[in-house]
């Protein structure tokens, strides 16, 4: 049943006008390898969508295609469309720089800028866009750090370097940094995989709070995490989308045999 047919449930509350981001026959290559084989996926607005699958299924490549980061890797190629608010972000008229401002990303391993202070890290994206007004910077920094549940811990140390924070705090700083530019979609590539359960819990808490303002797409290999925080779940295998439905449906009532096998732990 490899490459089995796609099972999408026509969920009652999922109508097209609330789809924020959608992929249309998205294909991606890395060198000679075809990593994504034609993905058609709709991400609902203001919801958390989890993307799951065994190692090598292409989930990381998928989200890196969503903000046009994948094409920066040497020998990478992308075909197909990714549609944000009705516009294909891969069309030649669209500037990838603008796309990346509207679709932000948090990476697997926290990567704050070591030569910048906590404050500067948080507002780095704003400064890029040309915002100079000190009051605006201060207020956005505070707002994003609060949204990332980091404000209380660093508010007295904003001028200090970010490298002395713990792993979990650094990752929350990266989340704040991504939020500060007011993106519409936030992509997260296994943001908690390098963190301990306590730090993970804090970040999961913030993600659930964030969906009021943002559309969140999170790649995770942790099924309990997906079950805890996501509204929708997509399951991928070997570069193809196998199943997509509300999280509860996917976990309690998987339509595909592959999905079921994965959920019950029968393979990686």
């Amino acid at each position: 049943m490899l490459g089995g047919t796609l099972k999408i449930s026509k969920h009652k509350n999922l109508d097209l006008s609330s789809v924020k981001l959608a992929t249309k026959d998205l294909k991606a290559q890395f060198g000679k390898a075809q990593v994504l084989k034609g993905i058609n996926l709709n991400f609902p607005e203001n919801k958390v969508t989890a993307i799951m699958g065994p190692s090598g299924c292409g989930k990381t490549t998928l989200i890196r295609c969503l903000n046009r980061i994948h094409e920066l890797t040497p020998n990478a190629k992308v075909e197909g469309e990714v549609i944000l608010d009705g516009v294909n972000i891969y069309s030649p008229q669209v500037d990838p720089v603008v796309v990346r401002r509207r679709i932000g990303m948090v990476f697997q391993k926290a990567n704050p800028f070591p030569t910048m202070s906590i404050f500067d890290n948080a507002v780095a994206g704003l400064k890029l866009a040309g915002v100079r007004d000190k009051e605006k910077l201060d207020s956005v920094a505070e707002k994003s750090l609060r949204m990332a549940f980091l404000w209380d811990e660093v508010k007295d140390d904003l001028k200090k370097s970010g490298v002395n924070l713990s792993g979990g705090q650094q990752q929350r700083l990266c989340i704040a940094r991504a939020l500060a530019v007011e993106p519409e979609v936030v992509l997260m590539d296994e943001p908690c995989s390098a963190l301990d359960p306590l730090a993970t819990a804090k970040i999961e808490e913030s993600i659930v709070a964030l969906k009021k303002e943002f559309t969140i797409i999170i790649v995770t290999h942790n099924m309990q995490q997906a079950a805890r925080i996501s509204d929708f779940t997509a399951f991928m295998y070997l570069g193809q989308l196998i199943e997509f439905d509300t999280t509860s449906e996917v976990f309690e009532n998987p339509k595909s045999e592959l999905t079921e096998k994965y959920i019950t732990g029968k393979f990686g």
Partner: protein
């Protein structure tokens, strides 16, 4: 639905700066490459007229009429001094390099390694003065030997460093397997050295030889010059580089042409050595570089 108040595209200024910097960077590359092409071109164009078999064999020109004489003694002198230099610097350099790699954690290794790196970037004229003081002054004599010793101090840090770096690339497992078999440390070390093969060590030696062949200042001060083929290494001797310096800055047009000819010969030797290096190490795994 959340409406975005973001602009549809980034500011024109940012786009201009981005394009401008790309252009500037390309300009930098062009500026860096042009001098090389010019120099090589000029050496070939101006030096070719002087070249002939006789040029390579005859003694240094004494008359300024026409293209007489040759660089025979200069070539021999250069090779002699580099040879002496290699005899001194290769054993010490390889020895130090092995120490840097196999006893890397010792204090002596760290200090010596650091001093060695510092020595690599040293002005060679200072080394020339040094050898002048310790050899030429007491013996009251410029000599090929003094020149060779001076060059050896230029070659030494290069050999020590590349030996050390290439030995460090040998996987630890080789040493561990050897020791686990009960083979004594000293035999193990010799095995490691042989296993990196001629590649690692030869590269360093070739680089050092190339560097020494191109040096002028140290031998200017210590080996002086001579018109004839040296009869003993304890006498002054000609060399390619000093020849270029002396004849190139003379007032005679034919001597200047011969200086260009010598420059061409020298460049060919350098390129040949450089090519040998590239052939022995392929794609530069230890990042060995000519000037560092």
């Amino acid at each position: 639905m959340r409406t975005s108040d973001l602009p549809a595209s980034i500011s024109l200024w940012r786009k201009i700066v981005n394009k401008l910097m790309t252009i500037l960077v390309i300009v930098a590359v062009i500026l860096a490459v042009i001098p090389l092409l010019l120099i090589l071109g000029d050496v070939v164009i101006r030096g070719a007229p002087a070249l002939s078999l006789g040029f390579l064999i005859h003694s240094l020109p004494t008359s300024t009429k026409g293209l007489s004489g040759g660089i025979g003694p200069a070539i021999v002198g250069s090779f002699t001094m580099v040879g002496i230099a290699a005899l001194i610097s290769v054993p010490i350099g390889v020895g130090a390099g092995i120490f840097f790699s196999e006893w890397a954690s010792s204090r002596l290794s760290t200090i010596s390694g650091f001093m060695n790196d510092v020595l690599t970037g040293f002005p060679s004229i200072v080394i020339g003065l040094f050898v002048f003081v310790i050899i030429v002054l007491p013996t009251k004599q410029s000599s090929a030997f003094a020149g060779g010793v001076a060059l050896s101090f230029v070659m030494l840090p290069i050999i020590a460093r590349t030996t050390g770096e290439s030995l460090k690339l040998v996987p630890m497992t080789l040493r561990e397997a050897s020791m686990a078999l009960g083979i004594p440390r000293w035999k193990t070390v010799i095995r490691i050295v042989i296993s990196t093969g001629k590649r690692g060590l030869l590269t360093g030696i070739l680089l050092a030889v190339a560097r020494a062949t191109g040096e002028t200042a140290p031998i200017l001060l210590t080996a002086s010059t001579s018109i004839y083929f040296a009869k003993s290494i304890f006498q002054p001797t000609a060399s390619l580089t000093v020849f270029i310096y002396n004849y190139g800055t003379s007032g005679s047009a034919s001597w200047q042409t011969e200086a260009w000819g010598a420059a061409l010969v020298l460049i060919l030797i350098m390129l040949g050595l450089n090519l040998l290096v590239k052939l022995t190490i392929g794609r530069n795994p230890i990042g060995a570089r000519m000037e560092l």
